[in-house]
């Protein structure tokens, strides 16, 4: 097998055994990028020089006899909303096109400390707002399985890079499915940890109460390996939780006999893609075959209604109020005053008739408004407007407060379901990867695609997407498993048990 096709464990084992250098591993990924990046466009920036320098450092440390880290020499891709000191972090937005953070995100510090070699920053929907990676100021990422299709989003770049072998593993962020849905579309494993499991310090915020960083990997064991490195309490993130971190890798192989797997009645809806439903049901049978007890559970407030072919769901409605409200405030700082894009239009131009001033605007408002108007893309603007409206005086109770109550009800549903079941199984997305442009003009349809992933973020629980089959057209389908708070280990064990007896995760896209 080509080097780029190896799992992280295999790469690390060979480096530690002296059969491979970190430099060679980095070069293999860089060569693979050179070969396929033109088709996939998974990266916003590739730091070949930095990667090779870092790889040589890792090799030198090993040569000095230092103990190899958990990610020793593994080329890793970082979603471009994770701050990296000294290298651009754009969030795929024009407004941060030239922004270079003065500090590293906590997760970046942790993967570096574990010996990983960051290879580049991956593409995303601008500020992680989207489900297709089409909303990027720097071009659309393509699905390695079908270049006419989207890789999902918003961590589409990270998922595509791992699927295409451009990176051995990657970090993504998940606010409403942004790790799990692209992992499912690209046929890789993606895990969204419990809210508070991984520090958000240095993750450029989209919706603070929903965002969580997690691993995207070629298989479950690699995901466990990366999660073990990034999961930790961080005093710099008050919402991170000082919960002990289990040995995910060491305890991965487990007997799942007697594990209770719940199928939420509300998620198996009429009109769901039959291929997706079939693959997920077969995957649940595989788990049952290994001794898992399958049962029906109910998540009434995550119900999906279908009327005249249109989907609607409380969870999606509540999510798009809370997420946009928080985003409207989180994105207020991009105003051209301190960093990032600042408009070139000035009053000098008005005097020369080259531009028309905004009505009633002071020079300050002129600068703010124009910088933001020029710097943000359409979807980001739409969400800022939605969120600003939802928080406005007189609407706060009807929207934000109401959505918060729905969120509590959704959480309670999960609490009750987890009194009976150890995990919940469902599809990751109602369909496999859709075509580029197919949903670009229909934001509502795009939002409804998040219907199975959103509740997990609202409830703050962990979720994992694992490959569970392919459509007849050859597109990956993902099984989603949701678990109790801080039971990432239980999810990984179930997912690994599934993976042990299936080979979907071993298939690679025909690039």
């Amino acid at each position: 097998m080509e080097l780029y096709g190896l799992t992280a464990r295999a790469v690390r084992d060979r480096i530690v055994a002296g059969e491979l250098t970190a430099e060679a591993a980095a070069r293999a990924c860089l060569e693979r990028i050179a070969a396929v990046e033109g088709k996939v466009h998974a990266f916003v920036s590739v730091d070949a020089e930095g990667a090779l320098r870092r790889a040589k450092e890792v090799d030198a440390a090993l040569a000095r006899g230092e103990r190899p880290g958990a990610l020793c020499g593994i080329p890793i891709a970082l979603k471009d909303n994770l701050c990296t000191a000294g290298t651009p972090t754009t969030c795929s937005s024009k407004i941060l096109a030239n922004y270079v953070p003065p500090y590293n995100a906590t997760v970046v510090e942790r993967v570096l400390a574990a010996g990983a070699v960051p290879i580049g920053k991956t593409n995303l929907d601008e500020f992680a707002m989207g489900s297709s990676t089409e909303n990027s100021a720097f071009g659309t990422t393509r699905n390695p399985w079908d270049l006419e299709r989207v890789p999902g989003g918003s961590s589409g770049g990270s998922a595509a890079a791992v699927a295409a072998g451009e990176a051995v593993m990657a970090l993504g962020s998940d606010t409403g499915g942004s790790i799990r849905q692209p992992a499912s579309f690209c046929g890789v494993v993606g895990l969204k940890p419990t809210y508070g499991r991984v520090s958000r310090y240095g993750l450029v915020a989209f919706a603070s109460s929903l965002d969580q960083i997690g691993p995207i990997a070629k298989d479950v064991a690699d995901a466990a390996l990366l999660l073990g490195v990034i999961a930790a309490h961080d005093p710099r993130d008050s919402t991170s939780v000082p919960e002990p971190v289990p040995d995910y890798v060491g305890q991965l192989e487990a007997d799942i006999r007697g594990r209770k797997v719940g199928l939420p009645r509300e998620f198996f809806i009429e009109g769901m893609d039959p291929e997706v439903e079939g693959a997920v049901r077969r995957a649940v049978e595989v788990l049952a075959g290994q001794g898992a007890e399958v049962m029906e559970v109910s998540l009434p407030h995550s119900r999906i209604d279908v009327k005249d072919g249109q989907l609607s769901a409380y969870a999606v409605a509540a999510y798009y109020v809370i997420a946009t409200a928080e985003a409207s405030s989180n994105l207020a700082r991009y105003d051209g005053a301190h960093y990032g894009h600042r408009t070139a239009v000035s009053h000098l131009q008005f005097a020369h008739g080259r531009d028309v001033p905004i009505e009633d605007a002071t020079p300050l408002v002129e600068m703010f408004s124009r910088s933001r108007a020029e710097g943000f893309g359409a979807e980001v603007k739409r969400r800022i407007l939605l969120g600003t409206y939802a928080l406005s005086s007189g609407y706060y109770d009807a929207y934000y407060l109401k959505a918060s109550k729905v969120r509590s009800l959704i959480r309670r549903d999960f609490d009750e379901a987890f009194e009976r079941a150890d995990a919940i199984a469902c599809p990751t997305s109602p369909t496999a990867a859709f075509r580029v442009g197919e949903r670009a003009d229909d934001p509502l349809q795009m939002y409804m695609g998040d219907v199975f992933t959103i509740s997990c973020n609202l409830a703050g629980i962990p979720g994992i997407a694992v490959p569970c089959g392919f459509t007849t057209g050859g597109l990956p389908i993902g099984l989603q498993l949701l678990g109790r708070p801080f039971d990432e280990l239980g999810l990984l064990q179930l997912a690994r048990a599934y993976e042990r007896v299936t080979d979907h995760h071993q298939r690679r896209p025909p690039l």
């Binding site: 953070p101 500090y103 008050s238 919402t239 405030s329 207020a332 700082r333 005053a337």
Partner: protein, 500 residues
Amino acid sequence: MTTASYESVIGLEAHAQLATRTKLFCGCSTRFGAPPNTQTCPVCTGHPGVLPVLNRTAVEYALKTALALNCQVSRQTALDRKNYYYPDLPKNYQISQNYKNLGFDGHMDIEVGGETRRVRIHNVHLEEDAGKLLHPEDVQQSTLLDLSAEGRAALAGMTLVDLNRAGTPLCEIVTQPDMRSVEEARVYMETLASALLYLGVCDCKMQEGSLRFEASISLRPFGATEYGNRVEIKNVNSMKAVVHALEYEAKRQADRLSHGERVARETRLWDDAAGRTVSMRSKEEAQDYRYFPEPDLVPVEVDAAWLERVRAAIPEMAPARRRRFVEGLGLPDYDAGVLVADKALADYFEECVRLGAEPKAASNWLMGSVMRQLKDSGARIADLAARVPPQGLCELIAAVQDGTLAPNTAKEVFQEMAATGKGATALIAERGLRQISDSGELEAVVLRILTENPKAVADLRQGKKQALGFLMGQVMKATGGKANPKAVAGLIGRMLPKAP
């Protein structure tokens, strides 16, 4: 009708910078006066991806303030985001409190014209300060900007942002509209400042902006129960400015009302140089701050143990101390009032009493020589105490009391102590300032003076009191002013019959 026909209804908002070493959400220093943007980090400059971490000491200081102002305390308090755009606010939202204020429904009593008035406190909450804008004239004049002449010229017309202050913890104290005159507002501000100093939560340096006020005022005819339209006044940077701005507004509003005109509900800016307020924005243009719970911070649980610990750490406040000085130490109410107004002065006083000084004597010294010395030198009591510690003043007081030192000499000795830092006993010995009270030594002198002044002796025998003064003066002259006047007067009386 004039101002005299209307009653003022005034409310005040105080912003007290909490005297913590570091900022509210990061580890940057809160020191005042550093060169621009040298006390900043990614967190307080609002870089993408950063998160706030709440400073527990700041919460504790605000809690202490809330308790001292008799507030109810939220057992679960939380921070909220207040959203507005301004370049001195790097995140374009301020982390503040709106839905679960730390303290609420409190009160503070103030004394105005010998009467006690109760000002209700609407809430006490925690928030972060913004940075500072350096407008073009500030940029050109700033001594903190290390600029060449060309550099300064290149910045002509530009406004710069200094974020050193951004993220400094503030405790906002909001009153109900309970003050009925500008004088009451003035006394409230002074009483609050004194309380904050007693609590040790704010250094109250108005000139450094560590205690700032905003005021609102409406007028109504005396006897009316409904409020008039309220005007909020911003840009009042000192207590003096608040008083002037309120006086101006009271008059402006009275003029309008007496001419049958309406007072618009609006926010007005105080122009200190011009001595007037100007309209800033009307109620219709009022900002919508879109408050919502800060998702980057978890709610703060104020448990019973913490609350009790903070409550126990509240020192005796000025009013109680004043009562104790009067009732326990027998000071006149006036003295007690003067002493407790400055916590450090009152502390100094108490230390003197603890070391054995007679309270009234110590009070006289502090209100006389000490306060005059402070006023003349512009020093604080702490500076003086470094040279004249309470122990030193006690020695001086004792020396006067036991007749060692004449009162006027003692005042000179005090000046000497304040200037040199030398002890009283040492100075008295060094200068030979000890009074002569010894009868044997004095008897000889008195006898000589009586013998040398038969005319005066005769006058005194006839009951002419001036003669006593003359004779005493002669004795003092003969002893170089060191004779104890009491002892001399006694001796003259006793020796008069024996005189020739």
